[in-house]
């Protein structure tokens, strides 16, 4: 795991690629690369490094960063706990309504996050389906850090399930059967055989879910509201800061870009998540 090069042999680079004139492909790829890169560079070069460091010291900036790191990590944990069984089910079982479940899992990816936020409000709000019941125990979810985590989980869990499910599906069922014949329990087989073999895909799912949770905006602002230190995550602070203090918004944006980039980079280089095993 600590090696930069994945331990198992990657498929050899196909010789086809060389015949395809790489320079032509580079030239054709250039417009998109510039299109993605230039806005990021513009963002990063907007304020000086000194200004960035200065803004980092602002309490509201620190609060937003700490809150974002905390909530996105919790949302990722929740995604793994709740999403793993579903991912395995989708990878292994044929059952009636499988397509519907598959579709349901994709919904949070395609829905506007505002729709997710509104739905959550109608469930966990004080008058919501579950919220009414919680309220009778004096528990309030809306406007709390818990609400942020719920919103992020709702949005991010699909990405984890998608990635992990691919990984589980790639594990030969014969290996699981063999372990079962040797007397391993269902749970042992899953935790000792399936998960380790699907490690890369699962970790890719973790990283994707975490990055998505970190960037979540629409569902959070509707369901959890916006309160500095409590529910104002980095994306919310960026959005609202844009009106009042562009400098602070840029500082937070730069940090968000770096964090997301770093996480994806670490995952892809260490765990080879970028290379899909087929």
């Amino acid at each position: 795991m600590s090696s930069l090069i994945p331990s198992d042999g990657k498929p050899a680079r196909r010789p086809l690629r060389r015949r395809h004139r790489p320079e032509a492909w580079w030239a054709l790829s250039l417009p998109l690369l510039l299109f993605l890169l230039i806005p990021l560079l513009a963002l990063i070069s907007y304020s000086s490094p000194a200004q960035l460091v200065e803004n980092l010291a602002l309490p509201e900036v620190r609060q937003a960063i700490a809150l974002s790191l905390r909530t996105s990590t919790l949302a990722t944990l929740a995604s793994v706990l709740l999403g793993t069984p579903v991912a395995y089910l989708l990878a292994r079982r044929e059952f009636p309504g499988r397509l519907l479940l598959d579709n349901l899992i994709d919904l949070p990816i395609v829905l506007p996050p505002a729709v997710a936020g509104l739905s959550l409000l109608l469930v966990f709000g004080r008058r919501g389906l579950v919220g009414v019941w919680l309220d009778s125990f004096g528990v309030r979810v809306t406007f709390t850090e818990t609400a942020v985590v719920i919103a992020q989980t709702f949005i991010a869990v699909s990405l984890f399930i998608r990635a992990a499910s691919l990984g589980f599906a790639a594990v030969e069922p014969e290996l699981e059967d063999a372990a079962a014949i040797d007397g391993a329990s269902h749970w042992q087989t899953f935790s000792r055989i399936t998960v380790p073999l699907a490690r890369r895909a699962v970790l890719t799912g973790v990283a994707l879910a975490w990055a998505r949770a970190l960037g979540e905006f629409g569902a959070t602002i509707i369901f959890a509201g916006n309160y500095p230190g409590r529910t104002q995550t980095m994306p919310l602070a960026i959005y609202l800061g844009f009106e009042l203090d562009l400098d602070v918004a840029v500082t937070l944006s730069v940090i968000l870009v770096f964090l997301s980039f770093l996480v994806l980079l670490v995952v892809k280089s260490f765990f080879g998540g970028g290379e899909r095993q087929d």
Partner: protein
């Protein structure tokens, strides 16, 4: 069925057909549009373009019906958006005949941009802050001072948007008033659970019952069910003034003037009052 059909004839055929269908439906639209606005034989058909603050949407739509009934040869076209956005668009040369702003600041920007003459803008309505709360009133709010009672869930608009600034001004004025006491502002701020991105979001949190109270414009409450409100007295309120003006490069000078006359006249004022706006003469 569709899948099989596509497999048999190829995806390209399908796409070409879909494109054709789209083109035909577009062509039909082109064909029908002019027919709906019957050109009059003598007077040339013309369009009056009005840029108006988003909060005026419903009221101005009602006014346009009256206007178009009076002058059937004129089509009123609206662009409703945030006043700052409208002022920017005007500055960038958008073709506009009338501009109605939700605050003086953005009208002044339009004047500074040279497309509105300094002496033309007139305040035609005012909008005031009120304290909105859910009809079943979970926190039992009966007076403005109740806002500072512990465990009251309050949502305000964020300081970044005008109504959020006005809300804080109200708290400052109230805290300076002995009737509320100097701890009032802090007491209220301690109860705030969220600073929402705009006034509609504040109202939604109140109407869904998530918040016990929130500060919104009176005009936002028109047509909203399940929400009650308390007046905020003039002395504590920050009254928003809405100026209206014709642009100096308008090509429909007479039509623009007629629209403004309607807005300022008795009939227009009555309609605006129905939509929760106050008269221009308010202090």
């Amino acid at each position: 069925m569709l899948k099989q059909w596509i497999e048999k004839r190829g995806i390209l055929t399908f796409m070409v057909l879909a494109l054709l269908l789209f083109a035909v439906s577009c062509a039909q639209n082109i064909g029908t549009t002019p027919a709906t606005s019957e050109p009059l034989p003598i007077e040339a058909n013309s369009t009056l373009t009005v840029f108006a603050a988003a909060s005026l949407t419903d009221a101005f739509a009602a006014l346009a019906e009256i206007y178009e009934a009076n002058s059937p040869h004129i089509d009123v076209v609206f662009n409703f958006a945030g006043s700052n956005q409208l002022a920017t668009q005007i500055d960038q040369g958008a073709p506009v005949d009338v501009f109605a702003s939700a605050n003086r600041e953005q009208m002044e920007n339009a004047v500074a941009g040279g497309r509105v003459d300094a002496d033309t803008p007139r305040v035609f309505v005012t909008n005031r802050l009120v304290l909105a709360y859910p009809q079943e009133n979970p926190a039992g709010i009966s007076a403005l001072s109740d806002l500072a009672l512990p465990d009251t869930l309050i949502v305000l608009a964020a300081e970044e948007v005008p109504v959020g600034r006005y809300s804080l001004q109200f708290l400052d004025k109230a805290a300076a008033d002995p009737a509320f006491g100097s701890n009032f502002k802090q007491g209220v701020l301690d109860n705030v659970v969220s600073y929402e991105e705009n006034v509609r979001a504040v109202l939604n949190k109140v109407s869904l019952g998530e918040a016990d109270a929130g500060i919104v414009y009176l005009s936002d409450l028109v047509g909203v069910e399940g929400v009650s409100y308390l007046e905020i007295p003039d002395t504590l309120n920050s009254i928003a003034e809405y100026p209206i003006a014709a642009l100096n490069d308008s090509e429909n000078v007479a039509a623009a003037a007629a629209f403004i006359d309607l807005v300022i006249g008795a009939e227009g004022q009555a309609i605006l009052a129905e939509y929760g706006f106050g008269p221009a003469s308010a202090p």
